[in-house]
Symmetry: C2
Subunit: 194 residues, 2 copies
Amino acid sequence: MVDPGSSMNPQVERTHRVMLDAARELLAEHGPAAVTHLRVSETSGVARATVYRHWPDRVDILLDLLRSGADLHFTPPPEDLPLAQRVTGLLEKLAAALNGNSGQILTAMIGLAEWDDDVFAALGRMRAFGPRLLRDLLAGGLADGSLTAATDIDVLMDALIGPLFLKRLLHHDEITDAYVGDLVDTVLAPHLIG
Amino acid sequence: MVDPGSSMNPQVERTHRVMLDAARELLAEHGPAAVTHLRVSETSGVARATVYRHWPDRVDILLDLLRSGADLHFTPPPEDLPLAQRVTGLLEKLAAALNGNSGQILTAMIGLAEWDDDVFAALGRMRAFGPRLLRDLLAGGLADGSLTAATDIDVLMDALIGPLFLKRLLHHDEITDAYVGDLVDTVLAPHLIG
DNA sequence: CTTGACCGAGACAGACTGTATCATGGTTGT
DNA sequence: ACAACCATGATACAGTCTGTCTCGGTCAAG
């Protein structure tokens, strides 16, 4: 099997990228069921045998797509802003990711993860990045007294993130900054001090 | 094509039910990709041609499963309870549905709905039932003064339902009544009067 | 009992899957 | 520049799945 990660062979890297682009296009246009060796081969122009060489199993293509395509590790917002604004900024970044390509990849992966343990594990690894930052933010707010002492930050976090997923996955709505603002006003604001 | 809905033929009804049970088992065990005419035929013992006669297209089986399997229209809670308890009761019922078979069907459908308009439409029809009741509840609370006047009940509703979906779909966690209680305390309680 | 509708069984072409082989062309180190 | 190496392209192959059709048997209703 070919290893495009550690290998510096430009031929391998180029072929891999071309195929992965085709796979991403197939996923976006026709869903995960359409991401097969044959269709990746046809779409990319790369020989079918080569697709099998890079990813022996069909799900490997999707996992590769998940690793390469979902950029959900955000940079922490500036610390001099008040908590509400920092949370809002972070949620807006998450919303933007969900609105775009990452949302589509996530949707596919959530569907697959229900029955494929490998996909679920990969999803779990990725899931850790975004929310962790939010959790740190809320924990900091609890520590410095910005949040009321009795606040359950885990539930609060779910109440902030959950609606974004709900809107994107179930309702297929674009998540606007205005919506994020309303969400923070409704969910977070009552727990703020000052 | 066979019409088991209006037809009173017990033969048709029996065959249809046997096949649908097999399809449900396949979905639960191996996911929507496994729900094919061939495998439904093998699992149910019904001839392959018959499966095609009932559902010409593969997605029709899944849509039928969605209609028959996801019971998400709940009965309204008793009106003499305070708003918080009525909301809690409703959310607990939704949580129970998500924990059970309906959650699995929903997961599959959400994945398919991203790329199949028929599934999305069917999902939309079903989605209307549960939340509408919750929305009526919150609207009533706004009208009778249980909720603060400035409350955005649509966002509030998302903040109550979203976390349940998040936990079930992304985290694969069982949704406990305790969690629902914490959620209501964190999200709804600050907006209650009295 | 007769009629009509449904089911089971089998056949069929066409497409897809997974693997193997071998020649070709690009890549790397000397 | 050259040779050794390695990935790729092309092709072939059996096995499986898909979608459709036909025909004889079976069931339910009038």
